[in-house]
Symmetry: D2
Subunit: 371 residues, 4 copies
């Protein structure tokens, strides 16, 4: 069954194909009174926009968002917000050769098998272009968070491209906005540039790992057992195109630790709030936020559209070879940073609303006092 | 908000605490006519049951399941199935010392902060005992799959305990049922035994990584964009207690690959179905199954209940030290194998039902023919 | 698809058949800290209990409820509450004759056609016995309302049995608890007694209309467009066995009014809150509560199990005649009163939680001030 | 919480205000391969379009629908279908006087109280204009039904305007399309014309009752207990603006019947399918369709926007009088006919999909054979 909605209370339904008239997000459940306009959402879309440097696709979409409903006199009304982005640079003919041949690593073959009818132009619904709608919705979520919990800050960055990871010892938050890779390690950024140039020239592509951190999230968000904060974050990130793994805090590396090493010991902070000796948990215990940084990481596979010939079959079952021309990102992971941030914003907001449904009070109201 | 349900159509709601009268799963949406009895579900519960060897908790629960509704004359009726397991070996007094001190790595502190009132006996709702209800529901899901798609086989096994991974070159499926670790590599199993004995004696614990594979899943299950098969699998696995990372196919390692290496090339098989040169995708493209093996991996953090003293605070905010006595698994990852299998069974069944809702026809009916 | 859950945030899943081991309600989403014990829920169940007078079925069920989870030290913990009622007086043999013959007006034939397999004992899942689980859940909802909004009072009563309606001029709320019909008009109650005695002796049965009123509900509950308060009330009441019509305020009679007559004019009350000249709207405008009484009415068809012979067919398609012996209510509408109250309590609570999710603040917090 | 979605699998989310840029329906879960284009949907919208005769509002909206996604080469792809209708005749200034005064019978006051911020232009989100989006979605549902179950026919008509009901003895289905009231009784239609002319001249309005019938619906659709077909129909109809009552089959009149009278006796038909002596049940037993006609009725209150002065208050709490000028339907019930049909189509389709999810097989596949 087609299920294009995520969120429990702040519910985002995305729609649209890469080469139709447009795409968008129907956002239901936003609190009223949130100050928002198209410019505020455009700010986030521009970060995801392609064609800004040589490491992302040269497709040039304005990606201009329009707010079609749910906002009146500059503030949300509490009714559904329709965010629409027109498709303007489609060049359908570029994609004519993929009508009959299934591109390896793409959803061409599974869409065909499942539905028996698919919009083959540029991947149709499976195109990464769908993530623009998520970023737009995330922009609204950020505005709502700004009203409800302005102390929350969300930031994403790359921690790995291909085999090259950052050195955490050189982590510099200021650096993230200074290079085309949202890389917190200037030295790694330089290395990545050379690595990607080489791949691009040879018609190849690279995977990446992205980390998204949310600071200032109050303790108490999330809930047992299936509505855990980490469950929803895992689903949110895994739903992004090309993502193959999701980690919270220590992630897969937790398997290698001992219980003694993994325990985040607890102390009382000077402000009467608990503090922890470490954050192996990634800010979540038992599905509920601890008040520490929420830390999520996800891996994006290398772009499947490459210029290196790959063997495949046609719709009629004949063996073929395919070279995917067109304008593709040598590393889709780069533009996944604003997408991951958007998903984090949506999930955190959703859980803030769920929390106040059950617990009442203001944001971050938790009845269990310590001390 | 408390959200203890998972699944779209095959919906499982688990309930119960570790030290209350019992726990269970309310399962709605099962097709009628599925042959099932308590013995068939008990089979799977027995695999998860503690106290079977020295590597799992010595708590001795019979974990006997009762079917209270939805089954008549040995077959499901299509109405809700209530699966209940009584708690029989509770020893509440063992847990008295955790009433006031928050155990590091546990949900004690977050439950307290969120709710201001918690069942502190043995973790209450956050206890891994909750997973027994999932295994029971998974037993029903397996029976339904057996009726609808008997070619599907689901198997889980450990691939890592602590820093020690298996050698894939020695992978032997037969070995999995022969050692206490569900380990497909006899040599690794021997190593793990020694490693865990050492940890147990020193009052420490270890993490683990589990892989769950589903074979025989037809192409076409899953859907864009938020109801992807991998999205639901990620959520299902991340919702299990102590899980910190989830991977599909290549997982986090996909970040390090090039597009050329990562492409699973496509060929026509002898039976007229597509075959692939490799399975980096883990059997899922664009959120939809390819017909290859579905491969999921997840990491379980080391048991947080250890005999090594850890620093913490009390409910009144005073510094304290805690040693968690009681009967705990030195590696909860071991018993997570049947839990992961159960979640896989539930998700696959759910998607089979979703698929036939949208596409009609029998299981695995996909209108898009190749060749 | 089997869908046995209602509610958005306060979610009730009922399970169980009339002649299995028991039935119950799995209630998820209740706020923590609600004072509750089995006695408090039993209070409401006892009002629905059969066998209390000659106008209800002589089946004698203790209908003793047990709380199996989600409550600790006398208060809810915020995790799922399992409410279970054992079946104790089943007499399966009474129902043997309905195994093969479909009872007109019952779900026997549709369950058979849909599922091909049904628990035919006493109606199985379609038995009105299922409503006991709703009443139990409603008892918990009332306790939660009592904590969150103690000014809310919910009361149901019969306004019609067979062709005999009450005279609104004789409405006396005190009278409701004094007669076996929850009838606010003593004269009508007397008439109903005679009418039902006659029907019972002749092996016949009667329909009824029930009105349920909620007082003290703050303005602002509900929402456009599908989550309207009246939408959810209509669904809640129509989901009760044997209900064939639901009305809000003026109900079906609204068709006959003019706009001038139907307008509830608005004034400022002495307490600075709006007051209305009338309540044709039943306390709901645009799906949102006005602060007036919420007024819902529903009609229950006459008991289909009657001693008068009716023509039907058997499972093998042969013509037959059926007389439904056993212990049946001559008017199921009587026992529908506590059920309707329970559904009202659940829906109001659910919307209180939804409202504070979106709007924050305490119960009844509405940002739009008048005056 | 704002909840603008209905449907379990065929899910319709409507968005938009009466005086914003446009409104629409985001439809998720449609099967692929459904032949559809804008003209096919426009056909149904044109039936609802205002300004077609003197009994409906003179607002002249083209109500031209555009399909923005989910359809490729004339057929649905199985991904979300975005149906958008631009607002073209808004005349915002007409509505300036309702910014501060709350119109009795409208949602003005409740939206204000709930949200503290509302789009007051023409009712904003609470405008009956929202129903255009439902009719568009219903057009798609009809196309899907036409593919899956072409024997299903859905038809609505008015059975009452003001105090004047039709005479069922004069029921003539052919007549429905011949008069401006979708009235199956030519004599009643004539009477209604005169009645409405009188009301319109005096600045007043009338209520109405609409009946919607679905023929050819196979037995077996629907399910216990909260996903009953009648539950979903009641919710669907009650969610339409101005609806105050919903009836299935006998409806509220069921209260007045005896069990003997109400029993729809069962026989075997010549085609080996059960037939019934009557249809008091409205085609639904135990929440599941019987194969008879599905019969739903609902009452629409009189248009609240009238030229007769009514007393009200302003936002600042001062007493006021209001006359609602502008272009309003003297009887909104007339245009509710296509809306009711649309909701019926959506609900039936949704239950067809649910049914085949659980039962498999083709549409109407029910495993329980009779005879």
């Amino acid at each position: 069954m087609s299920i294009n909605t995520f969120g429990h209370l702040f519910r985002v339904t995305t729609w649209g194909e890469s080469h139709g008239p447009g795409l968008g997000a129907t956002v239901d459940g936003c609190p009223p009174g949130v100050a928002i306009d198209e410019g505020a959402i455009q700010h986030w879309l521009d970060r995801r926009r392609p064609g800004q440097n040589r490491y992302t696709t040269q497709r040039r979409e304005a990606d201009a968002v329009r707010i079609l409903s749910g906002v009146f006199e500059g503030r949300t009304t509490g009714t559904p917000v329709q965010l629409m982005i027109d498709n303007t640079d489609q060049r359908s003919k570029d994609y004519g050769d993929i009508r009959d041949k299934f591109r390896p690593g793409h959803a061409d073959i599974t869409y065909w098998q499942k539905y028996g009818h698919r919009d083959y132009r540029g991947g149709g619904r499976s195109s990464a272009r769908e993530t623009a709608a998520r970023v737009a919705a995330g922009g609204l979520a950020r505005a709502a968070l700004n009203m409800l919990a302005p102390e929350i800050a969300i930031q994403g960055y790359l921690v790995q491209i291909g085999p090259h990871g950052i050195d955490r010892g050189r982590f510099d938050a200021e650096e993230i906005e200074r290079n085309p890779f949202w890389c917190p390690d200037a030295q790694a950024a330089a290395q990545w540039g050379g690595y990607l140039d080489g791949l691009r020239k040879s018609g190849n592509s690279a995977g990446a790992a992205i980390e998204v951190v949310a600071r200032g999230v109050p303790a108490g968000l999330g809930a047992p057992v299936y509505g855990k904060l980490d469950t929803d974050l895992a689903a949110a990130m895994m739903s992004i195109n090309a993502v193959k793994g999701v980690e919270i805090g220590e992630g897969m590396a937790a398997a290698a630790l001992t219980g003694e090493d993994n325990a985040d010991e607890i102390f009382m902070g000077n402000d009467g709030q608990p503090v922890y000796s470490s954050n192996h948990a990634g800010g979540i215990l038992g599905g509920i936020s601890t008040g520490q940084e929420i830390v999520v990481r996800f891996a994006v596979k290398p772009t499947s559209s490459i210029l290196r010939p790959r063997r495949t079959i046609t719709r009629s079952g004949e063996a073929a070879e395919i070279v995917t021309r067109g304008r593709h990102d040598p590393c889709v992971g780069i533009r996944a940073v604003p997408v991951g941030e958007a998903m984090m914003a949506c999930v955190i907001l959703d859980h803030l609303l769920l929390h106040r449904a059950q617990m009442g009070g203001g944001v971050g109201h938790t009845p269990g006092r310590i001390g």
